[in-house]
Amino acid sequence: MKSDTMSFATIGRFWFPVLALVIPLAIIVVVTGQFGGLSIQRTVIEMLISIVIVVGLYVFVGNSGIISFGHATFMAIAAYASAWQTCCEMLKPITMSGLPPFLRDQSIPLLPSAVVSVLLAGGAAFLTGLVIMRLTGLAASISTLAVLFILNVVYSNWDSVTMGSASIVGLPTYVTAWLALGCAVVAIVVAYLYQVSAFGLAIRATREDEVAAAASGISLYWSRLIAFTLSGFMVGLGGVLQAHYLGTVSINSFFLSFTFLALAMLIVGGMGSLAGAVVGVVVITAMVDIFRRLEGGISIGGEQWSLPAGTQELIIAAFMLLILVFRKDGIMAGREMTLPEQEHREKGLING
């Protein structure tokens, strides 16, 4: 333990699960940036934003084992907050007349506004968690669904502030592939540091066995609340990115179909590990992209050939069912990316 080389190896081993995810993503960004068309570049940005969101979702769902249907709520809160601060100075006083004057009559610089939005999402997650983290199991899941519906009803009808169910259009679009990659890396690093921290260990224990965790002095409520809040911050960041990638914010894009897709990504990859969250996003994004192209039509030997529109959704749903049936812990089955030596150690093939 004393020598420097030893500690270098230790550090390497510690960071390997993160590097094994981050480096391939960076390579994808570089390669598509150099050789890919606009369409594939946009797909990559969307994928990276999804990684921020799904990794954020994973911080709570993966570590606690409780399915949350409510995380789109915090994305929406952050996205709207960012829109209020940065969007459409000309239209704002007219269409969002209910905003407080300091927001209504001016724009706030991008960085502070993004920070505030993310903080707001985390704060909202904390307050929501204070109430519903008292519940366990299905009751907690169903309550997160109720939270999603409540936010949807409120934001769809709070016309003077959210423009109701209409899109807010014209947010500055500053999200590039590099920015999205940067945020995805931050999300992955944060999620990793969290899961190996004392808090992360504690909540994973509650996921494995609530009773044994309580007997070990672990608070179910607090450890879940911390995870819920942290993941609220992270999906909030995802919400801000999405808003400033599309340039529009609309409450209906933070509802059931989005929630389903995000959960599908997490579950296909395997909700038990960070690697699962990332791999799930990559796999589903690739599948969606491929089948969307097939639906759009390709030519084979001069023949136009295309799948009927809507096939892609059927295939995603069927794929998810197959994963659930035949590999119910997802592609990564709860494992992180590990060096072979480390894996053998965990399996008990190497002692010491």
Binding site: L91, S160, A166, S167, Y245, T248, S250
Partner: protein, 398 residues
């Protein structure tokens, strides 16, 4: 990407004098519209009509002597996809981008066009934000503002049907209905006084039952002369069926989204149902140009349009092509400059006006239609005199 080169027959092409190198380059129109997902039902009819107009132009020698090519990409009724395909089409060098019928799903694509300095034209968004104050000075929509629908039917009810009082049932699910209701209330109050709106109630399009709304309506001390339902199918059809089933036989006024016969099965024998429409699909439109359009559509596709929104797509291409011809270029700034001077310019969809502030129609005449013998029938063309101001158009303080 479906890239369909629509070239006229070789014979015609050969006869055309080739005036410049530029003339050989076709003009490109991109369509970032929904071919799948729920919005595809609204986009497909006007899209087909737009294609028909493009073909007509090409057959007649093209635009500025150049043929028009078009390409379509599917937004899948997703905002992210709309932004992507919008960007891709613009990147592919289109001269004008046609976007979805709905503001929420059209805007992301329109923004991509805006960034490239290209015109974005929505097939039938009824929201003035698809214009200068929302997407920007290069965005237009071929439709009238939703408020105008409410205004037209309110005025028509008061002036032509002699209705003295009304009750408003508002579907809160989408903004379009809220805008139509706002227009209706403003025009009705202007014409007959606030107090003749005997009540307002709300429902959601997917509510399985509006029983409590009906109970409230029936519990009014004085019954109104009519009920205004601002909604869309299926919820709107369901509401009308439930109103009639509860024995409420008052005239029902509605907004344009409830036009066309396809939902009338839900309320067999429906009577006393009125709304403002773009045109009649049933051959009884008093305006001959509409019937010509109907016949051309039948000739081209073997069937009449599925929806009367269709004519908006046709007229969209017509309006843009006209402006391009006047400007003698497809350059966006120049074309917009021409379009902004339209003042009751006669197009197939009706007289059309744009200004540098407003890229949506607020007083284009409507065809009032009513339901009779399980079909919509044209009654008369009506043009509203009450014009929505900016506050009403953006529903400030509503």
């Amino acid at each position: 990407m479906k890239s369909v080169a629509v070239a006229a027959s070789a014979a015609i092409a050969l006869l055309l004098p080739v005036t410049s190198v530029q003339a050989e380059e076709p003009i490109k129109i991109g369509f970032a519209i929904a071919e799948s997902g729920w919005l595809s039902n609204y986009d497909s009819a006007p899209f087909k009509a737009a294609v028909m107009k493009i073909e007509e132009i090409n057959k007649a020698g093209g635009l500025l002597g150049r043929q028009i090519e078009y390409s379509v990409m599917d937004t899948k009724t997703e905002q992210a996809r709309a932004a992507s395909v919008g960007a891709q089409l613009v990147d592919g060098g289109v001269d004008m981008l046609v976007v979805s019928c709905d503001y929420d799903f059209g805007a992301p694509a329109a923004l991509a066009a805006k960034q490239a300095g290209k015109i974005a034209f929505s097939l039938c968004a009824a929201d003035p934000k698809m214009g200068v104050q929302g997407v920007g000075p290069l965005a237009f929509t071929a439709n009238s503002a939703a408020q105008s629908e409410g205004i037209a039917i309110a005025e028509y009810g008061q002036k032509k049907m002699n209705l003295k009082s009304v009750y408003v049932l508002e579907d809160l699910t989408i903004e379009y209905n809220k805008s139509a209701c706002a227009g209706f209330r403003a025009a009705w109050a202007a014409g007959g006084g606030e107090e003749t709106i005997l009540g307002n109630d709300t429902f959601k399009n997917d509510d399985p039952s509006i029983a409590s709304q009906i109970t409230r309506l029936k519990g009014l001390a004085t019954q109104p002369d009519a009920v205004f339902v601002c909604s869309f199918t299926p919820g709107g059809a369901s509401a009308v069926r439930q109103l009639r089933a509860a024995g409420i036989d008052l005239p029902i006024l509605a907004n344009t989204a409830m036009v066309d016969n396809y939902w009338l099965n839900a309320v067999p024998g429906l009577k006393d149902f009125y709304l403002p429409a773009f045109m009649s699909l049933y051959g009884d439109d008093p305006r001959p140009e509409m019937n010509t359009f109907l016949e051309s559509h039948k000739a081209r596709y073997g069937e009449p349009p599925v929806s009367s929104y269709s004519v908006l797509g046709y007229s969209l291409v017509e309006q843009w092509a006209y402006a391009v011809e006047q400007a003698k270029t497809t350059d966006s700034e120049a074309v917009v400059g021409v379009m902004n001077t339209f003042k009751d310019q006669p197009f197939t969809a009706g007289p059309t006006s744009f200004t540098d502030q407003l890229h949506i129609q607020v007083d284009r005449p409507w065809l009032i239609m009513k339901v009779e013998n399980d079909s919509f029938r044209a009654v008369e063309v009506y043009r509203n005199s009450f014009k929505p101001d900016v506050k009403l158009l953006f529903r400030v303080g509503q």
